[in-house]
Amino acid sequence: MAQTPDVVFVDGVRTPFGRAGEKGQYWRTRGDDLIVKAMIGLLERNPNLPKDRVDDVAIAATSQTGDQGPTIGRSAGILAGLPLSVPGYALDRMCAGAMTTVTTIAGAIAFGAYDIGIAGGVEHMGHHPMGQGIDPNPRFVAENLVAADALNMGNTAERLHDRFPQLTKERADHYAMRSQQKLEVAYQAGRIQPDLIPVAIQSDEGWGLATEDQGRRPETTMETLAGLKPSFRPHGRVTAGNSSPLTDGATVSLIASADTARELNLGVKMRMVSFAFAGVEPEVMGIGPIPSTEKALRKAGLTIGDIGLFELNEAFAVQVLSFLDHFGIDDDDPRVNLWGGAIAIGHPLASSGVRLMIQLARQFEEHPEVRYGLTAMCVGLGQGGSVIWENPHYRGRSKR
């Protein structure tokens, strides 16, 4: 039997992320232009890639109307200058949209249908507020299938505090503060900037260039976090400080078979080992990455102890902590979100999955002693997604 092709992550880039809303740097930028700019940046960074060799363009967006409208993978491909012969499609799995475009393109490559594809996501949460324009089926509530408030992600985070009393607000705040601090250190060291594609932005003061993530709050302290009001329920524990903020941004990656990457002389930043998605009760969607990670580990024949670097999407601090507790990992474990996470960087829903991969890929370069890494995230309506990656720079274990 023919061997299944190895699937590799060739490269990934993203726009700087912006705060959603009128004060955000992208308020006057179209959602589709964010993904187009990112895609042009990716193609320019990989001049060896003949554009007509791209087999497909998969772009995720949770909201697929207006400026994230008509089949965004196709429309963005045209706008980014891909030949018209290259097809494209749009995809939605809420927060795990971009992650799912990567695994879907990877599946096509593993099957032998594709050699190379573009996968990414975009969410302009300023132009497309969460939950806008949706009409949930009344059976959800009438038949008690899903709690009425489970579509509000903040409430699901509060429920994690309820369910796991050891997950205190103090732990969540501490985790959130560390995320801000770690990102600042990474920025100072210039670790984040190399994968950002600047975007021209307009304001009353004229045109400018977005070059950095806008939502960072490096000055965050436990005291300021303790003073924030709960965002979702009276006496609640989830605040603007320990949640990911509403964000605009886009990410995009090049996924290929190992043979094609070699043939075209493209770099290889990571090799895909396994992936999995899983469902949980929508009311506690934040624990979703636990079963998806267990499944991905099982498929890979690995255990959690084999994972040397974790890139976990920080939808809410409490939700990351539930994952860490489950696997017996310390809140401050240096393997986890080395350069901070979504609480500090932002979480433009359907684009975040590839942001995790971009950071893991960079960390792999710096950590040849690490063989395997995990990207994982929770998803609204009770899901989790996990992808396990192998480090091509692995040089054997050394003492930490």
Partner: protein, 77 residues
């Protein structure tokens, strides 16, 4: 000083393309002053360069050149 007043009065209806300046922080840590030209209209009325437009741009270039000289003379080695 050259007197451009006659030239500037030539077309009272000129759609002026303004010269905006914003500072951009470069990865090197240095600052780039980015000049953009924008007449405030959409793609159906492209930027055009009339006398008032060019006069404004000239002023902006002079200001930025002076600012650049000041920075260079104060910059530490």
């Amino acid at each position: 000083m050259t007197d451009f007043s006659k030239l500037l009065a030539l077309d009272p209806d000129e759609v002026v393309t303004h010269s905006f300046v914003r500072d951009i922080r470069l990865p090197s840590g240095k600052t780039l002053a980015l000049i953009t030209l924008d007449n405030g209209k959409d793609y159906t009325r492209p930027n055009t360069l009339g006398p008032n437009t060019l006069h404004e741009l000239s002023g902006v270039l002079d200001r930025l050149a002076a600012r650049g000289r000041r920075r260079r003379s104060t910059a530490s080695p």
